[in-house]
């Protein structure tokens, strides 16, 4: 789904300003794409499958900055940078959350493959980051210990 949209955007870029203006409405509609299947997946593997990013290989070019131990799972700051050249998307997952996929970002020309966010974590878990570059997928993980879980009341 996302791959398709990205393709469309590239085509739109190539077609020039007039056509882009004509495409504005459909592009805006596409902007509301939300991968229901991936976000509804109850395992990280499923979610990655649905994102079309399974089979990622470990890569130390993905840097996850997060506390080793979080006092409260309601707010866990996570900063992700991909140093892999040509990175076009980053997905952040918390393996043990009820729905592991936390967020997925597509970076177009003009943006660096970097994001910092606050995530909820129900319990101690691996945080999994999958970056896509040149059609290939790469992964890095980091364990964050959680003292008080942060998904419920």
């Amino acid at each position: 789904m996302i791959v398709k949209r990205r393709g469309l955007l590239k085509v739109a870029g190539a077609m020039g300003a007039v056509l882009v203006a004509g495409l504005l409405k459909p592009v805006a509609a596409l902007a509301a794409t939300w991968n229901k299947e991936a976000f509804g997946s109850k395992s990280a593997a499923d979610a990655l499958n649905r994102l079309g990013t399974s089979g990622a290989e470990a890569n130390s070019g993905i840097v996850i900055e997060a506390p080793q131990i979080a006092e409260n799972g309601a707010v866990v700051p996570i900063e992700v940078t991909s140093r892999i050249p040509g990175t076009t998307s980053i997905a952040v997952l918390v393996d043990k959350n009820p729905y592991p996929l936390v967020a997925r970002f597509d970076f177009m020309e003009g943006a660096l493959p970097f994001v910092k966010l606050n995530a909820k974590m129900g319990e101690t878990s691996d945080v999994r980051v999958v970056a896509t570059a040149g059609g290939k997928h790469y992964v890095a993980t980091k364990e964050i210990k959680v003292t008080i879980g942060g998904c419920g009341g």
Binding site: A31, A32, E79, V102, A103, F105, F107, F114, V115, L117
Partner: protein, 98 residues
């Protein structure tokens, strides 16, 4: 429903740092007995051109705060961030790179 947003975009060595804050409950299924309420889509534009598209879940903390980095950038560049939640609410904010 759409409470205030706040954003700042500043030139840092070689890139533009964008930090954006949004007012939103980001309520999970567990908290709401099956009626979650959360932002799903996030768009960052520079001078009208989309540079980041985010899809996010109920596992983003209440009152979301995001940082992004833009390559290059110049003083006065217009940054716009907008969001759309699962109930159809939207909000957006704009700022110029300082």
């Amino acid at each position: 429903m759409a409470g205030p947003m706040k954003m700042r975009a500043t030139l840092a060595g070689g890139y533009t740092d964008v930090r954006v804050l949004m007012t939103h409950p980001m309520a999970t299924e567990q908290q709401t007995k099956g009626q979650p309420h959360f932002i799903q889509n996030l768009t960052v534009k520079v001078n009208g051109k989309t540079v980041v598209e985010g899809q996010i879940s109920q596992a983003i903390s209440r009152n979301p705060v995001f940082s992004f980095r833009l390559s290059g950038g110049a003083k006065g560049d217009k940054i716009e961030v907008s969001w759309l939640d699962n109930k159809g609410d939207t909000n957006k904010t704009e700022t110029a790179v300082a």
